[in-house]
Amino acid sequence: MWFKNREKAPIAAEASANMKDSSNVLEIDDLKVHFFTDDGVVKAVDGISLDIPKNTTVGIVGESGCGKSVTSMSIMRLLQEPPASIVGGEIRLNLGDDALDLAKMNKDSMRRIRGKEVAMIFQEPMTSLNPVFTIGEQLMEGILVHRPDIGNAELKGKVIELLKMVGISRSEEIVKSYPHELSGGMKQRVVIAMALSCEPRLIIADEPTTALDVTIQAQVLELMRELKDRIHTSIMLITHDLGVVAEMAEMVVVMYAGRIVEQGTVYEIFENPLHPYTRGLMKARPTKDNKSKRLYSIEGNVPSPVGLPDYCYFHNRCEESEEDCKNEYPTLVSVTPTHKVSCYVANKENKNA
């Protein structure tokens, strides 16, 4: 065969790490993910740090191309390397007794983390299930790969139970059907069931409701919230929908062009947004009050990730920029123990206040 079958080496010692705070399930520390392309180095994620506490939902917000998905794919180590490469930083995963630095894991040990400790829910339920295998088969193999000794009867029972858990009623029937026989909402429930199947410590949901219609969106979000408490897991929720964040998350991280521009609790971000970009995102939400007016949008686009300036990346789109903003990229400054922002203008306002 052309596959290299390196059999179960113990998880590499060089990947062991120490959690900064044992109440966190995941700590990302100064993570840098770069893509080495013909056009130059794309700094898709450039030095971000964030913590995901146990049993908490952390929302990651930003426009397309901000590095949200790259962050999540780096945690899963699903990026194609090369061209992608984790050039610096740590991704520490808390396993209870010990901790691992996922950024340093080799392929084979990482495989045993995926699905078991960290699971992922993808954006497109239509295409994220394999069309030629039954739902049951696809659920079973995910369990079987991490629990090879599970009995046949137990496995089947577990699959039925999972499907019931995500609110699929005719689960005995659904087990035997193919993905194309299910609606989009049903498929996303199956994908969620798949993510839950090994009761992971962390579930990464990459825009889990974007492809669904609005009524189903609400149901799926409700389901995720309920299941999070039921299996005591944390959720990293990637979205560009602030409404979803407000509903689901306890902590919010705002990303722009591969960096974190503001982070805090959901109250801090929504009550007191400090970064002009966060404010822009807030203003761009449709609200009940301004029916007649055109919806606000932030002028311009996320800058090309090749050859970014050495001052604030948001500068040329910013409505509040000042002289200082041409200085070097602003550092992330704590406003409260939980609330951080990286902006000269916001810092000045804050000092004056």
Binding site: N5, R114, S128
Partner: protein
């Protein structure tokens, strides 16, 4: 499903009717005919005698009239007698067809056995040295003209080294039977099969690679990886099963074509298959044989598409026939 197949067969019959008229008309419009061919070396034959001969061979009627005659005979199962072999055409085709098939089929199996794993190996490391090497070889195979490549092989292995027979299917003056005969034929098939494989494998390699590349980028392959499945399962099960859908379809569709014979390669290696016979028939203006041979090809083509459509439905659960 049954209904679908019946409907497909009925439409195929209509297509065949049209095809048969076109073939008939084109063959009859070819310059010269069998009588001209036969008498060309003999200046003493008079025009009246030629006309007599034409009447004898049934070549004196107009195209439409002749076609109607041919069709009514064909519908009764009478495809005529080959001018050169003086035997019923169906008998000639029936005997030669299996020679062509055994040659083409053995090459076909070898091609697939090599092309599928190599194509997947190339796709798994796109733009690597391995990928470039495999694709270079594929392209080289496609670009080699079979007549030239065959001659080179004959020069090296038959004339030069004397390891393999130059041409033919069995050793002369040896009346082998049973297993010895099979071995002897296999020995004679080595060079022609090599020509088939080298010149034919490139297309399959590229087809497998392209399909695998597409599937490897699919979301469900990412899902499979996210589940923690080992790479052997991700590629060997999730990706391969999806790659197989177009490949099975294509393979099924190619099978009838294996009976058609290969004109050039069979000719060079003097293998008495359908392809060589067809070429001879063109040269000799053997009208009944050509007519039936071309109709046979048309039937094989239609059969191929029908088989590939049916296999597509079997391989892909999303396809339902109505």
């Amino acid at each position: 499903m049954k209904q679908y197949v019946i409907r497909r067969i009925l439409t195929s019959l209509v297509v065949l009717l049209g095809v048969s008229f076109l073939i008939y008309a084109m063959l009859r419009m070819m310059p010269g005919d069998f009588v001209e061919q036969m008498t060309s070396g003999n200046p003493t034959v008079t025009a009246e005698q030629k006309e007599k001969l034409r009447e004898l061979y049934g070549l004196n009627k107009g195209i439409v009239e002749g076609y109607v005659q041919w069709l009514s005979d064909a519908l009764r199962g009478d495809f005529g007698v080959s001018f050169t072999y003086q035997r019923p055409v169906t008998e000639v085709i029936g005997s030669k067809m299996w020679i062509s098939f055994s040659l083409a089929a053995s090459a076909f199996v070898i091609e697939l056995l090599i092309a599928i794993p190599l194509g997947i190996a190339a796709a798994r490391r796109q733009y690597s040295k391995r990928d470039y090497l495999i694709m270079f070889l594929a392209l080289a195979g496609i670009s080699l003209p079979s007549f030239f490549f065959a001659a080179v092989l004959q020069r090296i292995f038959a004339v030069g080294l004397g390891w393999l027979p130059l041409s033919g299917m069995v050793s002369a003056r040896e009346d082998y039977t049973g297993f010895r005969l099979v071995l002897d034929i296999a020995y004679h098939f080595i060079l022609p099969v090599t020509v088939f494989v080298i010149t034919g494998i490139g297309g399959w390699l590229r087809y497998v690679r392209t399909n695998m590349l597409e599937v490897l980028n699919a979301d469900y392959v990412r899902t499979a990886r996210a589940k923690g499945l080992p790479e052997s399962k991700v590629v060997g099960k999730h990706a391969f099963r999806n790659t197989l859908i177009p490949i099975i379809t294509f393979i099924g569709g190619s099978i009838p074509g294996l009976f058609a014979g290969a004109i050039i390669t069979e000719g060079i290696f003097a293998i008495d298959g359908l392809g060589k016979t067809a070429l001879d028939a063109v040269n000799n203006k053997d009208f009944p044989f050509l007519m039936t041979y071309l109709m046979f090809m048309a039937v094989l083509t239609l059969l191929g598409t029908l088989i590939s459509d049916i296999l597509y439905g079997l391989a892909d659960p999303r396809v339902r026939f109505r």
